[in-house]
Amino acid sequence: MTHAAATHHTSMGLDSRKMAFWAFIGSECLLFTSLISTYLVYKGRSVVGPSPHEILNIPFTSVSTFDLLMSSLMMVLALAAVQRGDMKWGKIWLFATALLGLVFLGGQVIEFTEFVHKGLTLQTNLFGCTFFVLTGTHGAHVTVGVLWLLTLWVRALQGKLGPGHALTVEITGLYWHFVDVVWIVIFTVVYLIQ
C-alpha cells in the first residue's frame, strides 16, 4: 500500500485518500437509505406470513449488535496502538476486530438459517425480500471489512505494516465504524421498532 498521497501537499490539507473515503461513505449512505426506505415502504404489505414479530429474535440479535459495537472499540484501540508505534498490541487489536466481525457474520448465518427453518425465505413474502436483501447487503459489507482487517493483520505479522501506515489503518477504521453505524440504524428500524 503506497502512501505517497500522504506526503503530498493538498489544497484542503486533508489527505486525498481520506477525502475519497468520506465521499465513498456519503455515497454508501444513499445506498443504505434506499434499502432501508424500501423495507419501510413495504412494511405490513406482505400478503402472506410470517411477519416480523413472528420471526425476529431480539435477544439474539442484541448480542450480535453488542458484539459489533465492541469490534468498533477494538478498532479504536488498534488505531491508537499503530499510531503510537505499538505494533504488538496493534496486531492483537486488529485481529480482535476481525474476529468480532467474524462472530457477527456467524450470528447472521445462524439467524438466517433459523428464519429459513421457521418458513421465511427470500421468496416467501415482501418482508423476506426486503429483510434478506437489506441485512445481506450489510453482511456483505462486514465481510469486505473482515477481509480488509485480516489483510492488514497479515501485513503487520509480516512486519510490513508499521506506524507509517497509521493512515491506512485509520481509513479501514472509518469503513468499519460506518458499517457499524449502519447496523445500529438497521437494528433500530427493523428489529426494535416493529
Binding site: M1, T2, A4, H8, M12, L14, A20, F24, G26, S27
Partner: protein
C-alpha cells in the same frame, strides 16, 4: 500498444474515453437512423415490432450511458487537471479502472445485438427492449422472459461502478489538487460544473443500483420487489429510477454548461459575466435536481398535494437555469466576438437549450403534462435538451480543446459546415416531434396509421435525422483531414484565460514544467487589476517523476463482466472466477509499488 493499455496518464485516458464514447455515439446514431427509417412512412415494415423495441431502448441507453456521459468524462479527464494546474488526477490507477469498466460494460451491453443463438433465440439480436427507463413490472421475468433485460440490468450495474469510481476521483482531484493560490472561487467554470456533476453521480448512482439489484433478485432469485400479486408496487421502481433519473439529466447537461461557460468568454474576449452567480446557480441546480423527480410520474396519480409540490419545484429549477442563460448572453453582449466554430456551437447550445427548457416548463404543469406523457412531445423535449443542449455543448468543447488534445486545429470552414448542417438537421428532426406529439402520436410504437395525419411531419423528421448524419460525416472528414493537413496548434491558439493554454499542445506527460501559482481568476489575461501570468518554462528546470503504468486496473475491471456472465449464462463457476479475477486485481493493485 502496451503503453495505452497500462496507462494511468489522465490525458491518454481522456483520449481513450473520447474515441470509445464517440464509437458508441455512432452506434447510437445508427440505431436512431433505423428508427427514423421505420417511421419515415406510415405502416412501415423495415423492422419488426420486437426489433424496434430493442432499437429505441438501446438508442436511449447508449446515448445516455455510453456516449454523452463518457464524452463529458473525456473532457473531465483531459481538461480538469490542466485547468486546476495539476500533474494528474488524485488517483491515476482508479481513473484507468473507471475507463476499462466503462469499455467492458459498454461491450457487454452491445454484445446483446449478436448473441441471440447462444440463448436459443430464433434471431441474432437479444438486445434490451424495455425502454431506457426499464419500467418494472414490464421488465419482470414474467413479461420479459428472454436475456434482453438481463443484459440491460447487468450492463448498467457495471457502468455505475465506472461512474462512481470516477466520481470519487474527480471530487478529490478538484478539491485537493488545485495549484497554489487557486481558491475555490478561482476554479474555472468548467471544472466547477464537473465538481457539481460528480457529487450528483456519487449520490444518484447508488439509488439506481439498489433499483437494479431488486430487479436482478426478482429475475434471478424469485423475490417480489416489483410483483404486484405479492403486495408490491411498481411505483417503487419508478421512484428509485427517477430519483436517479432526474439528477442524471443534470449529470448530462451541467458539463456542457461548463464548456459553454469557457468558450463564450474566450471568443467574446470578456470575463464570464457573473462568474460567481453562474457557479452558485450550478450548485443550486445540483441541490434542486434532487427535488423534482416525481414530475416524471404525474400520470401515475400521486394526488393533488404531491403533484402541486413537484410542479412547483420543477418550475423553480428553471430559475437558476434561466440565470445562467442570461449570464451567457450578457457575456456576449458588447464583446469583441470572434465567430469560430466553437462559438457557433456554444451560441447554438444557448438557443436550442432555451427551446428545450421552455418545453420542459410546459411539462411542469400536471394537467398539461397528462396530455404530453408518452407522446412525441416528450421526445422533442428530451432531444432539444440532450442534443440541442448537451451534444452542441460537447461539440463546442471538441472544437475548443481539439488543438490542446491533439496539437492540431480542426478546419474552421468544415467546422462551419458541420455546425450549420447539425443546426438545420436537428431542428428538422426534432421540431416536428412537438406537433407529432400534440397531434396524438404515442412514442415507442413501431408504426402508425396514415389516418393520424402525421405522415408528412414524420418524413420531415426522418430527413432531419439524415441531415444530422451528414453533419457527423463532415465532422469525421474534418478529423481525418486535420490529422494530416491540420494547422499545428501553438500553446494558446485562442487567447484563453485559463491554465491549460499556458502549456504546449498537446501537453508533455508531466503537464506543467513548474506548477504555476495562481493569483486571480483569469491568470492568463491582462485586466485593469493585474498583468498576465508568466507561462511555465518550455523545459522543466528539475527532473519530474512520472509514474509507470499498471496492468492491475484492467485486470480488476475484467473481473466485472465475468461476474456478470455468471447470471446471464446460469453458470456458477463464472461467479467464482470473476470474483477471483477482481480480488487478484485489487490486491496486486493495492500492493504495487506506485508513486504519484
Amino acid at each position: 500498444m502496451k503503453h495505452w493499455i497500462t496507462t494511468t496518464d489522465h490525458k491518454r485516458i481522456g483520449l481513450l474515453y473520447f474515441w470509445t464514447a464517440f464509437c458508441f455515439f455512432l452506434i447510437g446514431g445508427l440505431e436512431a437512423l433505423l428508427i427514423r427509417l421505420q417511421l419515415a412512412q406510415p405502416n412501415g415494415h423495415l423492422v419488426s415490432a420486437e426489433t424496434y423495441n430493442q432499437l429505441f431502448t438501446m438508442h436511449g441507453t447508449t446515448m445516455v450511458f455510453l456516449a454523452l456521459m463518457p464524452l463529458s468524462a473525456s473532457f473531465f479527464n483531459y481538461i480538469v487537471p490542466l485547468q486546476i494546474g495539476a500533474r494528474d488526477v488524485a488517483f491515476p490507477r482508479l481513473n484507468a479502472f473507471s475507463y476499462w469498466v466503462f469499455l467492458l460494460g459498454g461491450l457487454l451491453l452491445n454484445a446483446s445485438w449478436l448473441v441471440g443463438p447462444l440463448f436459443q433465440a430464433p434471431h441474432l439480436n437479444v438486445a434490451p427492449d424495455g425502454g431506457w427507463f426499464g419500467y418494472a413490472n414490464l421488465t419482470e421475468r414474467q413479461f420479459s422472459p428472454g436475456p434482453n433485460i438481463d443484459f440491460w440490468l447487468l450492463g448498467l450495474q457495471i457502468l455505475g461502478i465506472s461512474s462512481l469510481a470516477a466520481g470519487f476521483n474527480f471530487i478529490v482531484t478538484i478539491l485537493n489538487m488545485r495549484a497554489p493560490g487557486m481558491k475555490m472561487l478561482r476554479v474555472p467554470a468548467f471544472s466547477w460544473m464537473t465538481l457539481v456533476t460528480q457529487f450528483l453521480v456519487i449520490t444518484a448512482f447508488p439509488v439506481i443500483t439498489v433499483g437494479l439489484v431488486f430487479l436482478m433478485f426478482d429475475r434471478f432469485f424469485g423475490t417480489h420487489f416489483y410483483v404486484t400479486a405479492a403486495g408490491a408496487t411498481p411505483l417503487l421502481w419508478q421512484h428509485l429510477f427517477w430519483l436517479f433519473g432526474h439528477p442524471e439529466v443534470y449529470i448530462l447537461i451541467l458539463p456542457a454548461m461548463g464548456i459553454v461557460s469557457e468558450v463564450l468568454p474566450t471568443f467574446a474576449r470578456k470575463p464570464l459575466f457573473g462568474y460567481t452567480v453562474v457557479v452558485f446557480s450550478g450548485v443550486l441546480i445540483g441541490f434542486m435536481g434532487w427535488g423534482v423527480w416525481s414530475h416524471h410520474m404525474f400520470s401515475v396519480g400521486l394526488g393533488p398535494i404531491a403533484d402541486s409540490v413537484f410542479a412547483g419545484t420543477t418550475m423553480l429549477i428553471a430559475v437558476p437555469t434561466g440565470v445562467k442563460i442570461f449570464n451567457w448572453i450578457a457575456t456576449l453582449w458588447g464583446g469583441d466576438i470572434r465567430g469560430t466554430t466553437a462559438l457557433h456551437f456554444a451560441v447554438g447550445f444557448i438557443a436550442m437549450f432555451i427551446i428545450g427548457g421552455l418545453s420542459g416548463v410546459t411539462h411542469a404543469s400536471p394537467p398539461a403534462d397528462l396530455q404530453q406523457t408518452d407522446t412525441y412531445y416528450v421526445v422533442a423535449h428530451i432531444h432539444y435538451v440532450l442534443f440541442g443542449g448537451t451534444v452542441l455543448g460537447l461539440f463546442a468543447g471538441i472544437y475548443y480543446w481539439w488543438p490542446k488534445m491533439t496539437g492540431r486545429l480542426l478546419s474552421e470552414p468544415l467546422g462551419k459546415w458541420h455546425f450549420w448542417l447539425t443546426f438545420l438537421g436537428m431542428n428538422l428532426a426534432f421540431f416536428p416531434m412537438h406537433l407529432i406529439g400534440l397531434l396524438g402520436m404515442p412514442r415507442r410504437i413501431y408504426t402508425y396509421s396514415p389516418d393520424l395525419g402525421v405522415s408528412a411531419l414524420n418524413l420531415v423528421s426522418t430527413l432531419g435525422a439524415f441531415l444530422i448524419a451528414v453533419a457527423i460525416l463532415v465532422f469525421l472528414v474534418n478529423v481525418l483531414r486535420t490529422r494530416t493537413h491540420g494547422r499545428p496548434a501553438p500553446n494558446d491558439p485562442w487567447g484563453g484565460a485559463t491554465l491549460e493554454w499556458s502549456i504546449p499542445s498537446p501537453p508533455p506527460v508531466y503537464n506543467f514544467s513548474v506548477i504555476p501559482t495562481v493569483a486571480n481568476r483569469l491568470p492568463r489575461w491582462k485586466t485593469e487589476h493585474h498583468e498576465p501570468m508568466r507561462d511555465p518554462p518550455a523545459v522543466p528546470p528539475a527532473p519530474i517523476h512520472v509514474p509507470d503504468g499498471s496492468w492491475w486496473p484492467l485486470v480488476a475491471a475484467l473481473g466485472l463482466p465475468v461476474l456478470a456472465l455468471a447470471p446471464l449464462t446460469h453458470t456458477l463457476w463464472l461467479a467464482f472466477l470473476g470474483a477471483a479475477i477482481l480480488l487478484v486485481g485489487i490486491y496486486r493493485w493495492a500492493f504495487e509499488p506506485f508513486d504519484v
